[in-house]
């Protein structure tokens, strides 16, 4: 009786998981396959699970447009890496300021951070755009990178982490050794913060990599386009339809993330899980 129930549970659970797994992969598989098919094949029969042989034709068409995946990747990389570094480093620093020092404004400051967490960027986009426009920072990656110095969620998360796993005695010990405060933070605190920083790095990288709203508004020079902007312009090609090429373009945008993800999946899953416990 008990065994039957357990069997039934397993069958249901595995079926549901399998369906979800297929659901996760299938759209991407269709995309990969259609990237290798020519327009006529796609028009005749949009669904196929078997790749065809037109990958290079599609690539030629794609590169013939003003689609430059390499440039997009580079730009996205610059913005995402810089944003991630800013977020991670300055959040740790700010969290440390709240955690390790007893200053007058620290309580109001922490409350402020909690409040700012709730304010979404979109609310201020009009003012932000006008401001950037007036100081001539449109088409400048700095306009996307510098704001990430103030990342309230990351600060909040890091502070929680510090409270759980950073003994203040360690700081005291460093002071006795005559280390400067800044040196202590960089050489002693940061290494301890690694797991928390890794988690925040993942979140911050993914959100920066995928961000469309602000870049779309701020970047008008096509040398500066990030990957999501390029993707958003991919579908539009008046005069001729090349769905194979569109699918290929999408594939190219997705592929680097795919590779990175599967290589790092173990750490990423752990990192996200950490985010759950502490956040």
């Amino acid at each position: 009786m008990k065994k039957n129930r357990s069997l039934l549970f397993k069958v249901t659970a595995y079926t549901v998981c399998l369906i979800l797994a297929i659901l996760s992969v299938l759209p991407f598989w269709i995309m990969f396959v259609n990237a290798t098919r020519d327009t006529f094949q796609i028009q005749q029969e949009a669904l196929s699970l078997v790749p065809s042989s037109h990958l290079f034709d599609n690539l030629k068409i794609l590169l013939g447009k003003t689609f430059d995946p390499l440039k997009g990747l580079t730009n996205s990389m610059i913005v995402s890496v810089a944003s991630t570094l800013c977020t991670v480093y300055f959040s740790a620093l700010t969290a440390y300021a709240i955690f390790a020092y007893n200053w007058k404004m620290r309580k109001p400051f922490f409350t402020l951070i909690l409040a700012v967490m709730m304010i979404p960027a979109q609310v201020s986009v009009i003012g932000f755009y006008q401001f950037m426009y007036k100081i001539g920072m449109t088409n400048n990656f700095m306009a996307l990178i510098l704001p990430t110095i103030a990342a309230p969620t990351a600060v909040f998360f890091m502070r929680q982490f510090m409270m759980a796993s950073l003994p203040l005695e360690l700081v005291e010990a460093a002071r006795i050794d005559g280390a400067s405060e800044f040196y202590t933070f960089n050489k002693i605190i940061l290494p301890i913060m690694k797991p928390a920083m890794a988690t925040q790095a993942i979140f911050s990288f993914v959100s920066s990599w995928n961000s469309l709203f602000l870049p779309l508004v701020l970047l008008t020079n096509n040398d500066k386009y990030t990957m999501p902007i390029m993707v958003s312009l991919l579908r539009g090609d008046i005069y001729k339809t090349e769905y194979g090429a569109v699918y290929l373009g999408l594939t190219l945008t997705v592929l680097p993330i795919f590779i990175a993800y599967f290589l790092l999946s173990r750490y990423i899953i752990e990192g996200v899980a950490l985010g759950g416990v502490k956040g």
């Binding site: 796609i42 028009q43 003003t66 007036k134 508004v217 008046i238």
Partner: protein
Amino acid sequence: MRKLISLLLIAMMMFSLVACGSNTDSTAPAETTAAAAETTASAGSTEKEVLNVWSFTDEVPKMVEKYLELNPEFAAKYEIKTTIIATTDGAYQPALDQALASGGADAPDLFAAEAAFILKYTQGDASQFAATYKDLGIDVDAKIADADIAQYTIDIGTNPNGEVVGLGYQATGGAFIYRRSIAKDTWGTDDPAEISKKIGPGWDQFFKAAEELKAKGYGIVSGDGDPWHAVENSSDQPWVVDGKLVIDPKREAFLDLSKKLKDNGYHNDTQDWQDAWFADMKDAGAKKILGYFGPAWMINYVIANNAGDTFGDWAVCEPPVGFFWGGTWVLGSASSEKKEAVGQIIEWITLDTSEQGLQYMWANGTLNGPGGTKDAVASGKVMSISNGELEFLAGQNMFDVFIPANQFANGKNLTQYDETINRFWRDQVRAYTAGEKSREAALEDFKQMVADNLDVTVE
């Protein structure tokens, strides 16, 4: 919480002061950065100067490339940086507007605009960005007279001060472009003169033809977007008159026309510029369809590219109602530092009537060597010496149809909001024909959309 609020309030007060203060002198920093950008550009003057070209297709950029190829000394001085953003998702205008408004080294020097929104850049909200052709160093009045440019092209391209700021290179009077084999199978003839009498004149006759085609298992058009362009640009009034929304009776009647097409299965229910619409050009759709509405560019730049094995099985005839559709105007930017260079290119594209001029090559398909695609062009002088015979049309001279069609081309029913308003309208028409809502509701919702999103009065 109370502490937080008081803190925010103090900060707010402080910064509202800063905000007000910064407004008065805010233009200054923008200027300095623009100036800084220029100095960096001129510092590298041993290198080529960059001309920024913005367009929504690769047509104009390719022309510019050709110009550089024909003029090596020009090419030695300038290099071209192109930005192409398609109009399909309405993405071109916002991007172009911001690039023009931002100014500086990244701003466009030369840009293209389509009939659906050209008025914005010649006469409307963005007209301050367009340089007059005179400022570009073009002797525009004499040249226009000499080239015999179609009047509507000039009307559309003239700014409120009466100066020409943009000209097109095409003539976009419309025709009906159909499949010879399907016409023959249905009516026993593929002669353009006969077919034009079958499908027109007028929409009643058009639907009679649709019924006859249906009996044979064919559709008459691919989707409702095809007759739409004929309806849109044969109407008497534009969408907006004196800042108020106007629904021309002919455009309103499109609701019924579209419904009738859909309910009777006269088409494949595709959407123009979407995959399935292109698929119908090479018989890849659900049923074969007779043809498309369109000007000469439609044949060469759209159908021919997508026609596959149906090459040579096409012909053009007079449409059921006269109309024009599209066209590209070329403009120079008022803030450009390289006006002379921009002017040279623009003059070559829009006003040069020699055999080395763009329009001659464009009309005769010799831009990229012989045997290329042909198009009807704006200059009457060039048209008179050009040959519109196409193998794609089994040797038919398409200019026989398109030259008379150009009488329907006028700029009087355009507005600067056409692209946006058309999108709202087509969206509502589609909802109505698909049975999602009533005719009244579709009209109501259309008006609401315009009122909510644009600075246009709706009564």
